[in-house]
């Protein structure tokens, strides 16, 4: 119990980590570039962007939030959040008119998963950028 209390540290001021996390959301690996972790930022940028582009080239579908039964809401809202987490990649593809309907076929299905996973991997990158920004990680 005492050890638990020792390990809990107060959240540092927003100014120390919000810019890195925000840039990390907008540009995959951008938070790492901002924090001078260029090599890791480049790996994240290449991986997340490649995964997203593969998803687009496989004509994966973008999720839209939908209401209905619990499973429909969970899948579509969760998928939408995953898509949005890709940051500028998602925004650009939507602004440029990418609107692929959900179609049957394993390639389209993989494409949809690639698009969502790119966003989820970017969330991991944002968490890493947060930990670096607040000094919990080297």
């Amino acid at each position: 119990m005492a050890k638990e209390k020792e390990e809990k540290r107060p959240l540092p001021p927003l100014g120390t980590w919000v810019p890195a996390v925000a840039v990390g959301w907008l540009i995959p690996g951008g938070g790492h570039f901002m924090l001078k972790r260029t090599g890791r930022g480049a790996l994240l940028l290449v991986s997340v962007t490649s995964m997203f582009l593969c998803g687009l080239m496989m004509r994966g579908a973008m999720f839209q939030p939908q209401n209905g039964d619990l499973l429909t809401t969970l899948i579509n809202t969760g998928g939408f959040i995953g898509d949005v987490c890709s940051g500028v990649l998602y925004l650009l593809s939507v602004w440029l008119g990418y609107n692929q309907p959900d179609m049957a076929g394993h390639v389209h299905d993989y494409g949809t998963k690639f698009l969502v996973t790119a966003g989820l991997l970017n969330v991991l990158a944002m968490v890493d950028a947060f930990e670096i920004a607040v000094g919990r990680k080297d």
């Binding site: 790996l43 994240l44 991986s47 593969c54 080239m57 993989y110 991997l121």
Partner: protein, 61 residues
Amino acid sequence: MPKMTLSHFEAAFLFSLFSSVVLGVVTKRTDRDRLHYGLYTFACFLAALFGIGWVMYLGHG
């Protein structure tokens, strides 16, 4: 935007590769550990890919 048509294996291989790189980069604290963990997760992805593939093949009869 060109269209990409991949087999199940090719798509799963690419998925494993990109995911392993990110997992390796964000998880560990030293470059050596990051490389090891990235390779480990990639190997796990491939083992699952082949393992589950064989299970489905044998399950089909």
